[in-house]
Symmetry: C2
Subunit: 294 residues, 2 copies
Amino acid sequence: MGGKHKGGKDGGPPARRLSDLLRLTPGEAVDLAAHDPRATPGGPRGKAAGRAATAALAEPLGGLQERLYAASTAGDTRRVLLVLQGMDTSGKDGTVKHVIGLFNPAGCRIRSFKEPTREELGHSFLWRVRRALPQPGEIGIFNRSHYEDVLVARVHDLVGHREIRRRYGQINRFERSLTDRGTTVVKVFLHISREEQRKRLLARLDTPEKHWKFSEGDLADRALWPDFHRAYETALTRCGTDAAPWYLVPADRKWYRDWAVSTLLRERLEALDPRYPPAGFDVAAAREQLLALG
Amino acid sequence: MGGKHKGGKDGGPPARRLSDLLRLTPGEAVDLAAHDPRATPGGPRGKAAGRAATAALAEPLGGLQERLYAASTAGDTRRVLLVLQGMDTSGKDGTVKHVIGLFNPAGCRIRSFKEPTREELGHSFLWRVRRALPQPGEIGIFNRSHYEDVLVARVHDLVGHREIRRRYGQINRFERSLTDRGTTVVKVFLHISREEQRKRLLARLDTPEKHWKFSEGDLADRALWPDFHRAYETALTRCGTDAAPWYLVPADRKWYRDWAVSTLLRERLEALDPRYPPAGFDVAAAREQLLALG
């Protein structure tokens, strides 16, 4: 990994939390070339161990999620929002399947943002995002997000430079309003290499069952790889805040990506420390009444 | 099991499909007392085998779901809607967690229907249901549904008898319009015994971590058990149609319930036989272009 990650690099005590290792320091300029997409910081040793460690997270994650939801039934308004961004084929869909698949689906609110519809284009770029936010006790997942409006929008010149610059501030204020009202925002950039994207696009072309995942626009965007990287660097730099920092997850190795995102969510949920609410009724009386009913 | 289920009962060839075994014959009056909630028709032998068989369904179910979704990207409008009904503690939440947890959460649209909000009460009872329907390629899950409007609404006298009778017809026409437009509607009644409900309510009272799941209304509704059963019998009878039949799943044994609902979904998805769409682009040309991009 590059030097942008904090902790345990200079003979000091090892970083204990993955979120400290992967967090991009707010205020520091992001240089994607300094981060190795094949690295596995803080991770298990190898694929088999990684897959096993991820599967073993299903139980603690399910327990934390249940407590978060249970607390919401007694008025706790806290919730989590996972924002997934990354180049085409970086594994956003796979992360939803394998990481969010560890949770109880009833408590997950998943939204995949595609090209805006006509109705969506008639509103501010944050409009469709606001409508998809998680409710208290839920875990929201954005597969792509409002960041597309400073990424694709910038690279494809969909709006002017001035408007793009204005949006960084709007995004920061928007996310701040979320965290102020009890949403833990976990923004993950899935970092893959240009070589890995080539391999994955080729696999899509060489496997008939994967053709539906391929679009000719993928090639056009690959040709714009450096532009997208620059747009990402700016967005990660301008919109990395203390309230809602970015986490850079090296994603060339799928097993590491799944383990890392699961572990980030676990750490953030543990920090929330949600609790089962006390009974809002007289337990002994209810018990007696139940037994009397036969 | 009672005599209402078809197939393999009189020395004829054994029923091959679980959906044939559990399907309530449209047009025949339903008598819940004739169905043993502890039965395991067509199921694996015992809990361990049942749990293993259910886990083994994750792969075929995931594959079928992916094909259904892939087909939708090429214009196939088919989709599935699972409707879960049952008395309190019958396991609707558990079914969502354990059965829908076998699918890719990104393709599932889950909606849990609670007491109607003020806004919802300002519309026809089908309004909120229409807004939660699955889109093409998706698997929709209703945890409770429009049936509450002929169950709770009837038992608690929320509307008059005449209105309730009118609703059965409205429901049948509504579901018919869904199946006509490519939605496979799988309606499941989770059938538990009065004794099993007592056990489960008692467990909620005796486990502090489960207190949040308990409400005093649960006791009031348990006192109305016979009324709810009559309301269910009428709804299952009046709204069991060829287009959208009811399936009765004995649910005292959780492992059987999960296996049975998973297997029903598998059979219905297999009947749809969704296919990966052919490429909508020139694969060879795209391959060449990708290699040229480096």
